[in-house]
């Protein structure tokens, strides 16, 4: 469990004060800073101390490493949207060990087994919660399979919950909405996964994912920008073990050719794949069209077509 460091807390506090648009009574500057070390509220322009002996809302204990933080902290894990109960209920772990790490006696073990079973059963109070639990575990499963970071899972869970609240799931499959929530979350966080990739780890066909995604993004007003092919470049390039140089070149090719309107109506994955292929040729780190196509999940024909257009746009021909 990661806790914000003191420095980050201080930054957040400084941000908060400027958000409230506190004004310095002397020079009416809005540049007012909270100095947590001195416990003062100071104007950054004229140096006037507006308030002293302010309350420090941080913890009264100090910890210098993870285990110290673990032993000194008196709060539990932060709440998370990825659990149906926001992670607030108790889970009994599967290790039959006591607090000292000793194995339990067989009598205690069967008692814990019963407790665990009933705890698991009463964690969800009705079918709605059970469905939510299922949907969120699906999101978690697919996110793990795609290697998507925690923050995106949180966003995906929030999107799913919003869809649930607005009654958008009625008439659609839970898996479908969960998958499109994850797809939307990846795009929103700027690490897009293509529909093909998402469909591969999902239990619903790509067509349904696309359809559901369009529906929920329309209804929830997500207003996601079209996917930028450049966002695929680092991932594809590292999967192909290509150097930074190739990445930079591919990004440049995308920039130049998109500028000339070649991107209009073209699939961003195919566009990125062709740019990487072209860049790998230009940097003498040739990858075959087959290799690039496999990583980007497009066909070689797409790469050839986009590659021709891009090379022409770059004026290499």
């Amino acid at each position: 469990m990661e806790r914000p460091s003191r420095q980050r807390q201080r930054e957040q506090q400084a941000e908060q004060t400027s958000d409230e648009t506190l004004q310095c009574p002397e020079c009416s500057s809005t540049d007012v800073i909270t100095d947590a070390d001195q416990g003062e509220l100071v104007c950054d322009d004229c140096g006037l101390v507006i308030d002293e002996r302010s309350i420090d809302r941080g913890p009264e204990w100090r910890a210098f490493n993870h285990s110290e933080r673990q032993s000194k902290s008196r709060v539990g894990a932060p709440i998370t949207e990825t659990m149906h109960d926001r992670g607030l209920t108790t889970t009994i772990d599967w290790k039959d060990k006591d607090a000292y790490g000793r194995s339990l006696s067989s009598e205690k073990r069967s008692q814990m087994h019963r407790l665990r079973k009933w705890q698991e059963r009463i964690r969800t109070k009705d079918a709605g919660e059970r469905n939510l639990q299922f949907a969120l575990s699906e999101i978690d499963r697919m996110a793990s399979a795609l290697g998507v970071p925690r923050s995106v899972r949180e966003v995906a869970s929030v999107i799913y919950r919003r869809a649930l609240n607005e009654d958008l799931i009625r008439g659609r499959s839970i898996e479908g909405v969960a998958t499109s929530a994850l797809y939307a979350a990846c795009r929103q966080e700027g690490i897009p996964r293509s529909l093909d990739e998402v469909a591969e780890v999902s239990r619903v066909p790509q067509k349904e994912i696309g359809r559901t995604y369009r529906y929920i993004s329309q209804e929830l007003g997500l207003e996601l920008k079209p996917v930028d092919p450049k966002q695929f470049v680092p991932r594809f390039a590292s999967a192909l073990e290509l150097s930074e140089e190739v990445q930079a070149k591919a990004t440049e090719i995308i920039d130049v050719s998109a500028e000339q309107g070649l991107l209009s109506g073209k699939s961003p994955t195919g566009f990125a794949a062709a740019a990487i292929y072209a860049a790998s040729l230009l940097c003498n780190e040739k990858k075959t069209q087959r290799e690039v196509a496999d990583v980007a999940q497009v066909t070689e024909v797409t790469i050839r077509n986009r590659y021709q257009e891009q090379i022409e746009a770059m004026g290499f021909r």
Partner: protein, 186 residues
């Protein structure tokens, strides 16, 4: 700059009508020359007229849908042929059943390449749908006239959902003015 309205071309007109009484499609199919009826495939009877070219879908309820015509006049003409054919089979048809145009599909050409990404952002992401992963065109839903326009990178566009031929002209006008406002037409 040539007027994009000159390039407007009606591709398809769909209209519906009805003869006000139920039909036994099986026997109509037997008697009517050149009718296709395969209830396992499609519940309606398909009758194709050659001049003007169109297809009439005749249903058991007596309702008829005419599709594939290139103009509203053609729709009336080909439905007239269908009515005459039915009268020949001793099926009573009113003198002039009401024909309502349901949909007109039009194509047009703006004559220059479009940067769909910029248009998607410029027109406001809530009015448009642009998913190049799923479909290469940009879907733009207009409120007035209430039509849907598909814009493509080549500058060609398809307008669908209109009830009158003028709807397409209004839509093209509106799209052109919106795009030039945004400076995306040069």
């Amino acid at each position: 700059m040539s007027d994009p309205k000159d390039t407007i071309n009606i591709e398809n007109v769909v209209a519906s009508t009805g003869i006000g009484q139920e039909l036994d499609l099986q026997s109509v199919a037997m008697d009517l020359e050149g009718a296709d009826y395969d209830p396992e495939q499609f519940p309606g009877l398909v009758y194709r007229t050659q001049n003007p070219k169109s297809a009439a879908l005749i249903f058991r309820s007596g309702k008829i849908v005419c599709t594939g015509a290139k103009s509203t006049d053609d729709v009336h003409e080909s439905l007239g042929i269908v009515f005459d054919k039915l009268r020949e089979l001793q099926i009573p048809v009113d003198d002039d059943p009401e024909i309502t145009v349901q949909n007109i599909v039009t194509s047009a050409d703006l004559g220059r390449n479009l940067n769909l990404n910029a248009i998607a952002i410029g027109l406001g992401l809530e009015n448009i749908e642009y998913e190049p992963e799923q479909f290469p065109g940009l879907v733009y839903r207009l409120d007035e006239p209430k039509v849907v326009a598909l814009l493509f990178g080549s500058g060609k566009l398809v307008i669908t959902g209109g009830k009158q031929p003028v709807d397409a002209e209004h839509a093209v006008d509106k799209i052109v003015s919106r795009l030039s406002e945004l400076g995306l037409l040069d």
